[in-house]
């Protein structure tokens, strides 16, 4: 896969994550739990004590995170502006760690899963894997030769 293809895939996945987080945040502020697909306990998860971090609803943090990823992705496509390729793996690692924590909370502590939260864990993991790809590719064949 070319660098550009990876970058575009990165943007698409980040966009899916962003839509997912926005949907969850909108549901949160409307006070209506999202309907569950395939899993059981969306309302349990989204109304649990773990759905907020220092008072900030987790979906809001998700929105900020995915927006950041979109900016990084765009920055990468845009001639690797500010050399973002180096920052991408580290930034996506934050999402990966957060996802591992939230999957743990759902599986072990709450014993309830929310479809949209699992989707977000999936997109975060893919972003991390793509981030590693970008990092490696940049070392071997940079999108633009360093000037």
């Amino acid at each position: 896969m070319s660098n550009k293809a990876i970058a575009i895939l990165f943007l698409i996945v980040a966009f899916v994550g962003f839509m997912d987080a926005t949907y969850l945040a909108a549901s949160h502020f409307r006070g209506i739990p999202p309907p569950c697909l395939l899993t059981d306990g969306c309302d349990t998860v989204t109304s649990s004590a773990y759905s907020k971090i220092i008072g900030i609803p987790v979906p809001m943090l998700g929105i900020i995170y995915y927006l950041g990823m979109l900016v990084l992705g765009l920055g990468y496509i845009d001639k690797n502006r500010f050399n973002v390729a180096k920052a991408i793996p580290w930034a996506t690692a934050i999402g990966l760690v957060a996802s591992i924590w939230f999957v743990y909370v759902q599986a072990v502590i709450l014993d309830a899963f929310c479809t949209y939260c699992l989707l977000s864990a999936g997109t975060s993991t893919i972003l991390f894997l793509l981030g590693i790809q970008i990092f490696i590719k940049e070392k071997v064949t940079p999108l633009l030769p360093n000037t």
Partner: protein, 221 residues
């Protein structure tokens, strides 16, 4: 690469955000609060699965849909005890779960605790404990309070803990919740007197007036 990649990106993000919010705003969720959808006349089937206080031969049945974490339900707890004391033969009270999960984080857990106690024959004892100590356990994400109450009630705590997590108990609470949603209920407590939904009485006297009417006893002004 187009120069306006940032412009395009921003536009797509904006459209995506609006789309996701629209999607969340569709009327796809629980409970309908349209008063026209609320069922006001229901013939309840009281089964052995129900929590019933009073005699099966009682002429008046009060079905209560309540949430152990709801402060209003707690306020009704002593009131209902007082009302029941006045009609030991003619009134039976049926308690059904309607835990308002979205606003009360531990309402479901409390309802499960009452069901687990029920499996050891102490539903009403746990029911009283939960209401009387509501401020202690409400919102605390631990079962330790419930386990303490179980111990105080002389229950087999190990069995109680296992039952809390059992599908039997979980399903019972969930089914009751779904029934309440299907009735179009949106708040707790909600009372049905002989199958008719009533406006929540604000005092013992208001309850007795309604019950007397059902019993055909003239109310003294």
């Amino acid at each position: 690469m187009p120069k306006n990649i940032w412009g395009i990106g921003l536009a797509v993000i904006l459209v995506g955000a609006i789309g996701a919010m629209w999607f969340a705003g569709r009327d796809n969720a629980l409970p309908s609060t349209d008063p026209n959808d609320v069922k006001n006349d229901v013939s309840f089937e009281i089964t052995t699965d129900d929590h019933v206080k009073g005699l099966p031969t009682a002429k008046v049945t009060l079905v209560e849909f309540a949430d152990f974490q709801c402060p209003a339900c707690q306020a009704y707890h002593p009131l209902l005890n007082e009302v029941f004391a006045q009609y030991p033969n003619d009134l039976r009270i049926v308690y059904r779960h309607f835990p308002l999960k979205t606003i009360h984080t531990t309402a479901v857990a409390a309802a499960r605790a009452s069901e687990a106690a029920n499996l050891q024959g102490k539903f009403w004892e746990m029911h009283a404990k939960l209401f009387e100590n509501q401020t202690a356990w409400a919102g605390k994400l631990t079962n330790s309070f419930f386990e303490k109450y179980a111990e105080e009630l002389g229950l087999d705590v190990l069995k109680f803990k296992a039952d809390l997590d059992s599908d039997l108990v979980k399903d019972k609470v969930e089914n009751s919740y779904k029934d309440a949603v299907a009735l179009g209920l949106s708040g707790t407590p909600t009372f049905y007197l002989n199958g008719k939904k009533i406006v929540n009485p604000r005092s013992v006297a208001e309850f007795t007036t309604l019950i007397n009417t059902e019993l055909g006893i003239p109310n003294v002004e």
